[in-house]
């Protein structure tokens, strides 16, 4: 690219301006280049396409029926809100029915209208941790109730870590389905 610029310039004097009384540039000042750089790579600057008649002819349509097809393939700017009607959905998805003050605690849905329960697998698949996020209100009541619910079903004590500040609880082991079933019972 540097070589291209060197060949593109017309005269050397256009590149380095003349300072009277000094035989060389003052140190610390880069030379001012007067010549406007010409881009050789673009297609508008190439000599072949300077004349618009060289372009292919086209017609412009603003048919709203055709534009519907364009809008159909564009990505939605917002996440579409689902029908929150309380009924049975074939996929097993349930809309949130609990209100914030029904229980001493509250778990809102995520932006995707799903329950904020996640499974984290690490140490090359040796460690599985269930994470419940976005817990509001009395996290300790929720922890004791969930602990009782899970331990009754798996029939062994489980490790729990509660972070009140972040509003999240981590269970040692994969209890995602159990936690989701418990949340479904309460309508979260």
């Amino acid at each position: 690219m540097a070589a291209l610029r060197l060949f593109a310039r017309t005269r050397l004097s256009t590149l380095v301006p003349y300072y009277p009384g000094e035989d060389r540039l003052p140190s610390g000042i880069s030379p001012v280049i007067d010549q406007i750089q010409k881009r050789w790579g673009t297609y508008t600057s190439s000599p072949k396409y300077t004349d618009p008649s060289e372009y292919t002819d086209y017609e412009v349509t603003k048919d709203p029926k055709e534009w519907e097809y364009v809008e159909r393939v564009l990505k939605s700017k917002v996440i579409p809100a689902p029908c929150l009607e309380n009924k049975e959905y074939p996929s097993g998805w349930k809309p949130p029915v609990a209100k914030p003050h029904d229980y001493p605690y509250y778990i809102p849905r995520t932006k995707n209208y799903m329950q904020p329960v996640y499974l984290e697998i690490f140490h090359r698949g040796l460690r599985r941790v269930t994470i419940v996020r976005k817990i509001h209100g009395d996290i300790w009541t929720l922890e004791s109730e969930l602990k009782e619910y899970i331990e009754k079903r798996v029939n062994r004590p489980i490790g729990i870590r509660t972070n009140e500040l972040l509003g999240e609880i981590k269970f040692r082991g994969d209890y995602v389905n159990l936690v989701k079933a418990w949340m479904d019972e309460r309508g979260f």
Partner: protein, 294 residues
């Protein structure tokens, strides 16, 4: 002075000690590394090279040589598991359970044909063209709970999946998209801002041409009459009564198909879409029309 203890002693010592200044600072011990190694009595010994052997003489064996053993790198025969990996396509799975959930949560509209564009636009399908992802493999997980009636176009589908969709009165097509089209599909909004004409779809390569031409897999290049015959055969094999699409009020939507050269429903290859002007530019030249339609 003698009576001072602890904090007081330390403070009184600090008062009498010299300040840290340029005239009394020096490097930490070991911070300066001499540029020459010492010889003889000036620290000259083995210099880390050890005593005797290839370490001292610096004549190391060639890499992998095990002093006469059968070397590890030659011990096992060649097993080219990843041969041609740069040409192989990958179809990330999408289960019928997920598809049903997308429809339940209003992410996909079953009243319109579902294709790769609409699935990618949900934002919930992991699709990376640079990882050789070539489209949707619809899997049979959640086949018992699938109730939607859809017109879906996927890239790979198994027989139970086809049966599950046709049992509900829907239709399924398997279609191939080449890499140029996949780059368009992965971000359609960005593509329309580039001012490039919509590309034409290329025909499938020889390794999957048979799949997309066969009526059993509902290929998009198969004969429609053979497909309707295969629909009946599959319903008898799986033991369900095939709902008639002709009687369906959504017949027009369910039978809508793309041209093998077409990328988007309703938009032809060669057209340029201007999102700013909300206009579509269509080329008039005959040679362009011929190119994009063939």
């Amino acid at each position: 002075m003698a009576g001072k203890q602890g904090k007081d002693l330390a403070l009184s010592m600090l008062r009498t000690l010299p300040r840290v200044a340029l005239n009394n600072i020096r490097n930490n011990p070991g911070a300066n590394k001499p540029s020459k190694r010492g010889r003889g009595q000036h620290g000259g010994d083995k210099h880390g090279a050890g005593n005797k052997g290839s370490g001292q003489r610096q004549n190391f064996m060639r890499t992998g040589y095990e002093t006469g053993n059968n070397p590890f790198y030659l011990r096992f025969s060649y097993e080219p598991y990843y041969k041609g990996h740069h040409l192989r396509r990958e179809y990330p799975p999408l289960s019928l359970q997920q598809l049903q959930m997308f429809i339940d949560t209003n992410r996909l509209d079953p009243s319109k044909p579902i294709d790769l564009v609409s699935i990618v636009n949900t934002g919930l399908y992991d699709f990376k063209v640079e990882w050789k992802h070539a489209g949707v493999h619809l899997t049979d997980e959640g086949v018992d709970n699938f109730e939607a009636k859809v017109n879906i176009e996927v890239q790979w589908a198994s027989e139970p999946v086809i049966a599950a969709i046709e049992k509900n009165g829907g239709t399924i097509t398997t279609a191939y998209y080449d890499i140029h089209c996949l780059h368009v599909i992965k971000d359609v909004d960005r593509f329309f801002t580039t001012g490039v004409p919509i590309p034409r779809r290329l025909l499938p390569p020889s390794d999957c041409l048979e799949y997309y031409m066969s009526a059993e897999t509902r290929g998009y290049l198969a004969n429609p009459e053979e497909i309707s015959c295969e629909r009946l055969v599959l319903s008898q094999k799986y033991g369900y009564e095939l709902p008639k699409i002709e009687d369906n009020p959504n017949n027009e939507m369910l039978t809508q198909r793309k041209d093998p050269r077409q990328l988007f429903y309703g938009l032809e290859p060669g057209w340029v879409v201007s999102l700013k002007d909300k206009a579509i530019l269509k080329p008039k030249a005959d040679y362009l029309k011929e190119f994009y339609s063939s």
